[in-house]
Structures are given as C-alpha cells and as structure tokens.
C-alpha cells in the first residue's frame, strides 16, 4: 500500500500516526527510495477524485505535510517549480485543501527562494482564483493563506509591488481579497501585511478603499475569550489597526473626518481609541497633511479639554495637541502660526473670566503646547502674556489675579522644564516679561492679605520657576525674589491658615540650587541676623533654624551653613542659652551632616566639628550632661565617622579610648556610664568591627550589663543601655567565641533567664538574645535562650510577656550601614520557634497566663512581615481574635497590633477570615466603644477593619450583619475623638453601600 493510502487511512483517527507516515515519505524521498514523480502519481487518484471533496483535501494535506518534513537540497529547482505549478494549477480549478496548498507553498518557499514570476504567480493565483478569502469557513485555512501572502509581501516586496505598478486593477482585488475577515488571529497578520502597500506603494488612486478596508474595524470592540490559546488582546489589535490608519498621509481626507465624527461617541472607550488614533496619525502623516487639518483638529480636541468628562480623555487630547505643535515646531513657521493663532486667541478669551473650569483648561492647553519646543513657548508668551498681565493689572479681584497667575505659571513652568533639556535656550521672550512677572509676584507675596493662601502660593511657585530658568532674570530681579522669600520665612509667623512658610522654605531651597551665590550674599546673612546667641522667642528661632539648616543641602552653601551653625552653638554655650536652643542648634548641624555633604568629603569635618562637640560634652559636669544632646552628638559623630575607612576610624578610636576608658572604668560610677551611653551607642555603631579591640568590648559589655542590671524599672536611658548591649553583642562579639566572651564579661544568660529573672535580668537577657538573633550565627545558643524566655511565659511572668516585643522591634542602630551582622532569617527564626509554642499553650485556661501568651504573641507578630505569617494564618486567627478581647488599658498596644494584622488579612486573605466573620464582626464592634476602655487609635483601627469587611468578603456572607452594624455604628458617629468619628463615617458608608439585593427596577 502506498504512503498516501496509509496516510489517508490514519489521518482522521490518528493525526500523529499520519504525520509520521508523511515524514517517512519525506525521508524516503531524501534517500531516493521514493521518486517525487511516483509520489505525485500515487496522489493522482485521490487528489483528483471527482466525488469525494474531503479526499482531495486530505491528499493535499498529505503533500503539504511531506513537504514540511523535507530537508534542503532534496528537491531540485525544477522539481520545486513543478510542485508549485502543480499546486497552483489545481487551485485554479479546485479549492479543496486551500490551507494545505498554502502550507505546501510556504514549505516550498522555505526550500528555496522563488524567482519573480513564481512569487507573482503565487500571489496572482490566490487573488484571482480564491477571492474572497472569507468564503473559506475554516479559520486555519484562511490563516495559512494569510501567512503565505504575508510572506510574499515581506520577502518579495519589489516583486509584488511590481504587480501593483503594472496593473492598477491588482490593488483593488488585493484589498477586497481580505474583506470581511473576522478572526482576530488572521486580522493581526492582515493588519501588519497591509502596512506594506500602505507605506511603500503609491496608493493614491485607491487610498479610500484601502483605508476603509481597515477602518471598518474601528473601534475594536473585540473581547478575547477567557481561554484564548493565542493570547491576542484587544490592545494588540488596536495597536496594529492604529498603525494602519496612520500609515499613509493619503488617508487623511478619510481618516480625520471619520475619526472626529466618532469622537462624538458617548462611549469613553471609543473616544479614547479615537484620540490615540489621532495622535498616531499626527506622528505618521506628513507635515503638510497635518497642516491642512490642524485647525479642524484643534476645534474638535479642545472640547474634550474645556469640558472635561474624563480626566484621561482630556490628557489624551492635550497630548494630541502637543504632538501637532511638535510636528510643526521642526519645520517652517507658517503652519505653526496657523495652528497656534486660534489656540492662543481662544485661550486668551477663556482667561478673561479666570478662574473658571475653562480658564484652568486653557492654561493646561498653553502649557501642553509650550512644553513641546522653545519657539512655541516664545510664541505663546508673546501671544498670551501681554493680555494676561493687562488683565492682571486691570482687576482688583484677588481671585481673578490668582487665576491669571496660575495660568502664567503654567507657561513659565513649561519654560523651566524646557530649560533643563534645551541647553542654552534663548529666553528673550520670557525675559521681556520677567520684570512685570516678578513685580506682580513679589507684590502678591508682600501686599496681599495673608489669608489669600493660594494666591501667595502661586506667586511662590512663579518665582521659583522664573529663577530656575537660566538667564531669564537680571540679577536685580533675582535678588529681589530671594530677599522677598527669605523675609517671609524669617518674619511671618502665622499659625494655621495663612501659614506658607513650608512652601516658602521649599522655594528658597530650590532657589539655592539655582542661584547659590545670591543666597550666599542675601539669604544667609539675613538668617544670621535672626539667629541670636540667646533667643528671647525660642519657637521663632527654631523656625528660622529649621529653614536655615536646609540650605546646607546645596553643595555650595554647605560649608558656610554648618560653619555658621557651629559658631552660633559656641556662642549659645558661652552665654548659657537654654538647653532646648542648644539642642536645636545641634539638630541643625546634624541635619546638615545627614543631608548636606557627600559622604567621602565628610572626613574633613570630623576634626573641626565632631571632636570639639565631644570634648565639650565630656568636659561638662555629670549633672549637666543632657542625654538628649548626648545622643545628638553621638549621631553627628556617627554620620561623619561611619562611612570612613578603617585607617581613619582606628586613628579616631585610639585617641578616644583614653578618655572613654576613664568614663567607663570600673571605679567610676554607673551614672557616669549612663550619662554617655547614648553617645557610646552611636559611636560604636559607627565603628568598623576590625577597628575595635576585644578586651575593650568585654569591659564595656560587663560595665553596661552591670548598669542595666542595677537600674530601677523605667529608669531614663535604661533603653539606651539595653540597645548598647544588643549592639555590642551583635557587632563585636565573634560568633565562634560568643559563649566565652559572654562569660568573660560575667554574663551568665542562663542564670539571668532562669534563676534570677528579675525584671532587669529579663531585660538584659532579651537584649543579648536580640543581638544573637540578628547575628544569626549561634543557632543553638539562640534557640536555648529563646526557649528559656518562653518557659518564663509559662511561669506566668508578665514582664517577660511584655519584653517579647523588644526581640524584633526595629532599632535604627542595628543596621547593615552600622556594620552590624543582620541575618535575613531572624524574624522567621523567632516565628518558627515561638509561635507554635505559644499558639498551643494559649489554650491555657488560666486567664492571667492566657493574656501573657497573647501579649507575647502580638509582641512578636507586630514586627513580622505579613508574608511570614500568611501560611500560618489559620492557626494564628483564633488567638488573634482573643487578643481583641483583652480589655486592660495596658493591653491597648496588643489590641492595636492585633487589629493591624486583621487589617492585612482582610486585604490579602479575606477567605481565611470568612469563616470567622460572625465573631470578628462582634469583636470589632466591641473594640469601637470607648466605654470598654479602648483607646482612640484602637477604636479607629477597629473601624478601619470593620470597613474592609463589606468590601472584601462575599456579599451574601456580610449582608446578614448589615442592619446590626449600621445601627451599632451610630454610637461611633458620636465618639469623643474626631479621627474616630471620621473612620466611623467611612465604615458606616461602606456598610450602607452594601446592597441588600431586595430592589426593584425604578
């Protein structure tokens, strides 16, 4: 039996089997066991079978499949020609197996390029004999043909184009060939292949047909089936269609009218597609074409902006306008002005009754076109500003002036953005108005009533923008602007409404970056005058100080700023200014060092700034050491020292050792140590591990822990001591020698956590465990100690429960930047060891113990990333619900964190919560009442959670609670605290919005 017979037997039932046969025939052709001529003749009876169409189709399929398996060079050129002729020949008479024929041809082409005639013949045959393609019902058949023709257009561009040039009837035939195609997959190909004639052929004669053939599909409303194997999205089709529409300027006469017509559609999506298509056309079409339509387009587009329905539509329209502008900007001025004239004219009209919805729109338009090119910005300014400022001076109404100023700012803003990209741009047009503008703005700031906030803010913005445009202002103007803003910062002390200092400061800082020199000369002296050695009005000086410090963020002003600050601080010290003032000055310095100077250069600051501060501090008597200042000094040193290299650091370290060891020496009192602990904390945080000497650490550990142990509960600075402990353990104790070192430092952690376990002992224990945890090196030790802590819980030790929160609490000292060892898994570690233990024990009947477990649990969970808890939510949920029942005021924190977790649960895993809806709703409602001793933040948080329930859970599940909740919430609307009431309103709205599903059509 011949291969073809076998194939025909199998093809319906076993595709795989069939194609195997085909590939065998292919290889037999290669090995010459089978002659092509024999294969073709063996096909004869089937491929020409009069009565059985499907038989014919299948036999072509066979041929196609054989060819698809054939390797190069197996078939001679003649053989391939012969096959092509054979296939085309039968297509003329018989359409059966169209798809297969196409596939066969594609394979043949792959075996060897076609000459001109063949390519043209293939094209012609399909167009002439199988048109229209839509008569073939099978998508796959049409798909094959589309691929073939796509191939022809792609690889035989000129050849095919020849067809068009020789025969003006070809294109119409070609166009109508694809008419009525519906399948998205085929359309993707057709849209892309059509771009070849559209872009490369002279199609003027047939532009309309060609255009219509694609525009028929506009707008694309296709929704891909949920299980679409080809994953073709509506967007893909839209994009290709848009490319077609924009492919050829000759489409313009048909495209623009129809697009603008569709712009009146009521469907937002259609409008959006239209606007995007227009943008594409503007980019794609010739300048002179756009020129013909620019004004028409403006008249249509402006509507979307002046009467905004959907903000994003307005933006698309604006984008289209700026694209047009940009198009003209590159070429001659004629079209540009033709386009701009009506725009500017109309915008001016709208500006006359500023501030209105439409005047705002007008200024947006001016901005959108100005931003496209300097030349346009100039034209806009020349066209709009004279009238604008005329109106500005013509009116007394501040509201109107504000509206006009905002409009002006839009244009100036465009300028300053341009100035960043267009280097050395010519700014004459703007400069011409700078004086008027600055005068108006300065006047607004100086003379306008202080409660006219928005007006004065616009003035600030304006000044900042003007100054940011290089060479726009003469120095006199710049100085005027700078001094005006500085005066506001220094002399205006309005609280509440009318206070524009924050924006003024921001403006001044912007100016500092643009014109540092002027600030150097004008602003800084002015500030210094306002900074007394001993302030009479503290809060005022603080205001000034805050502003002043921010100037340090400008490189060129950094040194001056901190130098002046230092001087001020010394003066303040000499004259014994109030501590708070000294502290502010220190903070100002800290600010400078933190945000001002680039890291490497900081080294030079250590000697002149850090050292004197420390000396000063050490010098002053124990009683007069202010822990707060001590901390700031520590932070300053830290910020300077931390980035420095080992060499620099060890230099510093060894100098300091002397005085420090005195301060921390065993004979001196713990008070002494406590007084400098804050400094030590940040100082040691800054040091690199290799710099420090082991025995120093041991001594310090011992001293610190001693201090921690004898402290009274809640002693000030106790926390600092504990933090220092954690830091030392984590950073400077080598994991390998951990136990040894701890012993050397007389730290018997076991004893602390088991025998002694006084409040302080637990504190020290936790501090050490924390150090270990973050280090993540000594697993066994950590596990042991952690377990000891857990056992203390079982022993009903309240303090332990409360201490648990410290284990994971973030500490800005224990960071990689501070050269600490931070394991990535320490949170996971605590979670996996502690949480199962607690969740099991929490079933404990003893109320006191129960609450201890809950406190500890939330102490841990509070700091965990949600992702860690997520897998265990089902276990965590019951105890968490119980935390909401705790009602001593001491447990408010616990409740709060419990609620926070429920909040994330409702956000991310509502399904987990679903089964507990009833109890959760009840508990949340209970948490909202102040009577039950819930603090405001708990009440508020509870309401936030409650508000999530109707949004996140299934309607049916929630509806039954609606009326009850809505009624209970009435009480919360009258809560004593505003923030709680606000949450109550939101929450109640959410529940009211819940449709009870008992509605009738009105």
């Amino acid at each position: 039996m011949s291969d073809v017979q076998l194939y025909l037997l199998e093809v319906d039932k076993h595709k795989a089997e069939a194609s195997k046969i085909a590939s065998q025939s292919a290889s037999r052709l290669e090995t010459k066991q089978l002659k092509l001529i024999d294969l073709v003749t063996s096909l004869e009876p089937y491929i020409n079978n009069r009565d059985d169409a499907s038989l014919r189709a299948k036999s072509v399929a066979y041929l196609a499949e054989v060819l698809s398996h054939i390797a190069h060079k197996v078939l001679s050129l003649q053989e391939r020609r012969l096959l092509v002729d054979f296939i085309l020949g039968r297509l003329e008479g018989d359409h059966e197996g169209l798809g297969a024929s196409a596939r066969a041809l594609i394979s043949l082409e792959a075996l060897g390029n076609w000459d001109t005639d063949t390519a043209q013949k293939v094209m012609r045959t399909f167009i002439d004999y199988t048109s229209p393609l839509r008569q073939f019902k099978l998508q796959t058949e049409r798909y094959a043909v589309a691929q073939l023709i796509d191939l022809l257009l792609a690889k035989y561009r000129t050849v095919i184009r020849q067809l068009h040039d020789d025969d003006h009837e070809f294109l119409p035939a070609f166009i109508s060939y694809f008419e009525g195609e519906k399948d998205p997959r085929n359309l993707m190909i057709i849209f892309s292949m059509l771009q070849v004639p559209m872009a490369e052929w002279d199609v003027r004669a047939h532009a309309q047909d060609l255009f219509e053939s694609v525009f028929n599909y506009f707008p694309i409303t296709f929704k891909p089936p949920p299980d679409d194997p080809y994953g073709i999205s509506a967007q893909d089709l839209k994009d290709r269609l848009r490319d077609c529409i924009a492919a050829n300027s000759d489409f313009a006469p048909y495209a623009f009218p129809q697009l603008l017509d569709k712009l009146d559609s009521t469907s937002i999506n259609t409008k959006r597609d239209v606007l995007q298509a227009i943008q594409e056309c503007v980019v794609g079409y010739e300048v002179q074409t756009i020129n013909l339509y620019s004004v028409t387009l403006w008249d249509a587009l402006k509507f979307e902006i002046l009467n905004v329905q959907e903000e994003d539509l307005a933006q698309e329209a604006l984008r289209a306008l700026s694209l047009i502008a940009a198009k003209f900007a590159q070429t001659s001025e004629g079209p540009l002005n033709a386009f701009l004239r009506p725009i500017i004219k109309e915008c001016n009209e709208h500006l006359e009754d500023a501030p209105t919805k439409q005047s705002e729109a007008a200024s947006r338009i001016l901005h959108a076109i100005s931003i496209t090119a300097p030349i346009i910005a100039d034209t806009v300014i020349q066209g709009a500003f004279p009238l604008l400022f005329k109106m500005y001076h013509g009116t007394e109404s501040i509201t109107k002036r504000r509206g006009l100023l905002e409009a002006a700012n839009q244009v100036i803003g465009a300028y300053s953005k341009l100035d960043k990209v267009e280097f050395g741009m010519n700014v004459e047009a703007l400069a011409a108005f700078s004086e008027t503008a600055v005068a108006a703005m300065v006047r607004a700031l100086v003379a306008a009533p202080k409660h006219e906030v928005s007006f004065r803010l616009s003035a600030l913005t304006g000044l900042a923008q003007l100054i940011s445009v290089q060479k726009a202002l003469p120095s006199s103007q710049i100085e005027l602007a700078v001094t005006t803003v500085t005066d506001i910062i220094i002399h205006e002390h309005i609280e509440g409404h009318g206070n524009i200092r924050p924006q003024a400061i921001k403006t001044l800082v912007d100016m500092a970056h643009a014109v540092p020199q002027v600030l150097q000369e004008r602003a800084i002296p002015a500030f210094m005058v306002e900074l007394p050695d001993v302030p009479d009005d503290l809060s005022r000086s603080e205001h000034v100080l805050e502003a002043f410090a921010q100037l340090a963020t400008e490189k060129q002003l950094f040194h001056t700023t901190i130098l002046r600050l230092k001087g001020k601080l010394e003066a303040a010290r000499r004259q014994d200014a109030p501590a708070t003032y000294q502290r502010s000055l220190l903070l100002a310095l800290l600010y400078g060092f933190t945000f001002g100077e680039p890291i490497p250069a900081r080294a030079d600051c250590y000697r002149p700034y850090a050292i004197p501060l420390v000396d000063e501090f050490v010098r002053c008597h124990l009683a007069r050491r202010d822990p707060a200042m001590c901390e700031i000094v520590g932070r300053i040193c830290n910020s300077i020292l931390r980035p420095q290299g080992v060499h620099f650091q060890s230099g510093v370290y060894h100098k300091d050792l002397s005085w420090m060891s005195q301060e921390t020496a065993t004979q001196t009192s713990v008070e002494n140590l406590r007084s400098i602990t804050p400094y030590l904390l940040f100082y040691y945080a800054a040091l690199r591990v290799e710099v420090v000497e082991a025995e120093d650490i041991v001594a310090l550990l011992q001293k610190t822990s001693a201090a921690a142990l004898d402290a009274g509960v809640g002693t000030n600075g106790h926390g600092m001591t504990l933090r220092l402990l954690s830091l030392l353990v984590n950073k400077f104790v080598n994991p390998k020698t951990m136990q040894v070192t701890l012993e050397a430092a007389k730290l018997d952690v076991d004893a602390l956590l088991t025998k002694d376990c006084s409040v302080n002992a637990i504190g020290v224990g936790c501090a050490i465990v924390k150090g270990l945890l973050l280090q993540g090196k000594s697993a066994a030790l950590t596990t042991k100690y952690l377990q000891a802590l857990l056992d203390q819980l079982t022993a009903g030790n309240r303090e332990v429960a409360m201490r648990f929160t410290t284990l994971l609490a973030p500490d800005d000292v224990l960071t990689k930047e501070n050269h600490c060892l931070i394991s990535n898994l320490y949170k996971q570690k605590v979670f996996t060891q502690a949480v199962p233990f607690i969740t099991n024990s929490v079933r404990n009947p003893d109320a006191q113990k129960k609450s201890n477990y809950l406190v500890a649990l939330s102490g841990i969970l509070r700091w965990l990333p949600y992702s860690i808890m997520e897998p265990s939510l089902p276990i965590l949920l019951p105890p968490l619900l119980q935390t909401l029942d705790l009602d001593t005021s001491a447990d408010q924190e616990v409740k709060a964190s419990g609620l926070t977790i429920f909040e994330s649960m409702l956000m991310h895993d509502p399904s987990v919560v679903a089964e507990h809806t009833a109890s959760l709703v009840t508990r949340l409602l209970n948490c909202t009442t102040a009577e039950a001793g819930n603090h405001a933040n708990v009440r508020a948080k509870a309401l936030q959670c409650l508000a999530l329930i109707p949004r996140q859970l299934k309607r049916e599940a929630v509806v039954p609670y609606r009326r009850q909740v809505v009624k209970r919430l009435l009480a919360c609307l009258d809560d004593a605290k505003r923030i709680v009431r606000a949450e109550a309103v939101k929450c109640r709205t959410a529940w009211l919005a819940l449709d009870e599903g008992t509605d009738d059509a009105d």
Binding site: P960, Y961, R963, Q964, K967, E996, T998, D999, D1000
Partner: protein, 423 residues
C-alpha cells in the same frame, strides 16, 4: 408635672426605622409598620414579638390598620412606599399567647423569608390593592361601613369598598389636595373622611348623592399636616356627668352634642389644633365663613368646620402624631423633638371662663373648657424622632384598673415603647 413612666419596650426591636404601631380592635396585640418591609406583631401582655408579616412589599411599610369587628380572623391592611396596599389574614387561635421572639437580627431583611412561623402564626397575603402612582402614606378602615381609605404622595385619596371578603372595589378617587396626602381618618359615626396634606390643608370628604366629594376645607396650618383624628362620639362625658354642671356648662355640652365629634390635627408648624363643625341650624352664627368653591353645587352638602382651639404649645419640632383616647378623652402627642406629651380637657374655673381665648375667633361657649398638659417626658426614644403615638388598652399583669390605657410610641430607633401615665 407628672411624667410618663416606661412600662416596657417591645422585644426584639427592629434594626431599622419603625413608622407606626396600631392596637388590635379586641386582641392584646399591636402591629408595627417597619421600614425593613415587614410588619411586626407584638404582644401587649409580655411585649414579645409574636410574628412577622413580610414578603408582600418591595419597599418600606409606612402604615397599617386593623379591620374593625372581624371576629375569629384578624385582618390587617398595610400601606407601603411601593405604592400598593396589602390585605393580610390570620386565624385568631394562635394569637394572645407569647410568640417566640426572633433574636436573629437578620430577621426580615431578606424580605421573603421572615414568615416561617408555625401554622397559627401564619399570616396569609390575601389581596394586593394597586392603583396609587406613588408611596402610600396612610390608610384607615371605616368603623361603620365596609370602607377602606388610602392616601398617597400622588395627592389622591382612594376609597375602596369591600363587597365581599377580599373583593375590593374603588368607589372614589379624590384629588383636590395639592400635595402629598399624609393621613386619613374616619368619622366615628358618620360616613365622613378627613385627610391631612403636604399642602398644609385638611379636607373633609363624604358621599354627595352617590358621589364622594370634598365637603369642607380646613385651612390654617402653616406646615404639612402629619396626622388627623376624630374624637369619640361620647368624649364629652369625660368632662363630668350632667348633674355636677352649671347651666352654662350644660348649654355648652348640648352644643357639643349637636356639633358632634371634633377633629384634632398636628403639623410641621408644631401646633396641635382642634376643629369643630359649625351646626347648620344656627345660621346667624357663622364666624370666618369659608369662601365656597364653585364646584359645591349642593349647599346642604357643604359643611363648615372652624378651628375650635389649640393645645398648649409643648413641642419644639414638628409634631408627627396625636392620639385621642376613646376612653378618657385625653390626648397624647409626639414628634421630632422626642417628647411625648399628654393633655387633658377641663372646665375652666369661673374667672377665665369669661375671658376669651386668643386663638382664632371662637364663640364664647368654646371658651368654657381649656386644654392643659398633664404629663410629659423628654428623650422618650433616646435622641431619636418619634413617628407615632397611640393609646392602647393595658393588658400586662401590672394593670391597675379596668379600661386602663397605655401609650404606645414608635420611633426612628426601631423601638416600640409602652408607657403608663402616672396620675
């Protein structure tokens, strides 16, 4: 000032606004119209909920009314914002005893699944009366004829005649009002209907030949008229038996008997006014003659009603309801300000009897009595508005005397509260 003391609050309360409660003609139960589209039946003996009527209306039930003299089977009419009125029936065996309170607060919200009681608690939706274009605000059965009146935001009053059970026929659609018709009330002994409206007016309607028409227009209120109610035919005896009266008073009683039951109305203008009919046989005495609209062909048909007096001003907000006790002639009122006030009509002491009263032009004889506030309570429904008050016979164990009455108040808080007046 004696106050009202809270006897009980019906349980469970509704989770949404309740509009009105009305006592059963002979059983110790009340029906409460709720905005959750249900009617709740509470016992006046133990104040527990007995049963729920639901599933018939698509929107709030604004009002409900019991059909009088229907022994053996209770018949309740419901008027709803869905513009339809419903007629419900239930055999009386099951009534009287305490129903199981339905604790589940989801009760009734689904609209359909509220009424899965056992058989004797079974309410049957007998018939629905369609016709009004918009919300039905109030409805009322005539005590003497098989007539039901309904009124609506569509400015019309409809009168339905029940030919035989559940077969209602529209006998009149009265449309003179120029605004929502808020309330309707039947005259106790005549086929006459009073209606109060959003147009600030009250109208009286009766059958002229065989055609219902407006027979009197009562103007004066300066705000929506929220409620109207006739006094009982023999309320006059509340003033005391004839032998104790002096001649003047006896003369007054006679005129009162001639004029027949008065009408009381309360309004958004915060006043409560008493209106009386001017008897025909005294043509000489016609103060503030009403200008008769031309449509009134039949002079004998027209009636003249005048403002008789006003009750002392006790409310600081609109007054939504007044109820006129059939037993004692006392009046109770309530409204937006959350107050419940009880008034009593008394003979004036000789002195003031001679003085004339300020309100309106009133002939001397009217001046013989005066209304005084005898009891009052504030914040009766916490801070919520009170939509309705009504007198009802007392039926709990604490009952002190025969015919003792309680006040039943219905509020925005979904509460139905029962009060006793201390005396």
């Amino acid at each position: 000032m004696p106050s009202l003391s809270l006897l009980a609050a019906a349980h469970p309360s509704c989770n949404a606004r309740t509009w009105l409660s009305t006592p059963h003609p002979h059983l110790p139960i009340i029906a409460t119209a709720c905005s959750d589209k249900t009617v709740r039946i509470y016992s006046l003996q133990n104040f527990q909920q007995q049963s729920t009527i639901s599933g018939g209306h698509k929107r709030s039930i604004r009002s409900c009314a019991w059909k009088p003299n229907s022994r053996g089977e209770s018949v309740l009419a419901t008027g709803s914002f869905d513009a339809s009125a419903g007629i419900w029936r239930r055999w009386e065996e099951g009534s009287g005893r305490a129903g199981r309170p339905e604790m589940d607060y989801t009760n009734g919200l689904a609209g359909g699944d509220g009424d899965e009681g056992d058989d004797e608690d079974e309410w049957r939706f007998a018939v629905i009366l369609d016709g009004h274009d918009s919300e039905i605000k109030s409805l009322s059965f005539s005590p003497i004829a098989p007539l039901l009146a309904t009124c609506s935001r569509d400015k019309s009053v409809w009168i339905w005649e029940e030919l035989e059970d559940d077969n209602f026929e529209t006998v009149a659609v009265l449309q003179e009002h120029e605004g929502d018709v808020k309330c309707v009330a039947w005259h106790p002994s005549e086929q006459m209907l009073a209606s109060g409206s959003y147009d600030d007016n009250i109208r009286m309607w009766k059958e002229d030949v065989d055609d219902w028409a407006c027979c009197a227009l009562l103007t004066g209120h300066e705000g929506t008229v929220w409620w109207v109610e006739f006094e009982d035919t023999n309320n006059i005896y509340a003033l005391g038996s004839s032998e104790t009266l002096n001649d003047e008073q006896r003369a007054y009683v006679d005129t009162r008997l001639k004029t027949g039951p008065r009408l009381m109305s309360c309004s958004d203008d915060m006043t409560i006014r008493v209106w009386r009919r001017v008897p025909k046989d005294k043509p000489e005495q016609q103060p503030n003659q009403l200008k008769a609209p031309s449509i009134w062909k039949n002079r004998a048909f027209e009636e003249e009603w005048v403002e008789d007096t006003r009750l002392p001003r006790a409310h600081e907000q609109p007054v939504f309801a007044v109820s006129w006790s059939r037993k004692t002639g006392k009046v109770v009122s309530a409204g937006s300000d959350g107050k419940i006030v009880v008034y009593e009509e008394r003979w004036k002491s000789g002195a003031d009897a001679l003085a004339t009263i300020g309100d309106g032009q009133i002939d001397r004889s009217a001046g013989l009595t005066e209304w005084v506030v005898v009891a009052e309570t504030v914040n009766a429904h916490d801070v919520f508005e009170i939509n309705h008050v009504v007198w009802a016979p007392r039926a709990d164990r604490g009952k002190r005397v025969d015919e003792e009455e309680v006040v039943v108040s219905t509020g925005d808080d979904g509460e139905v509260k029962v009060w006793v007046v201390d005396t």
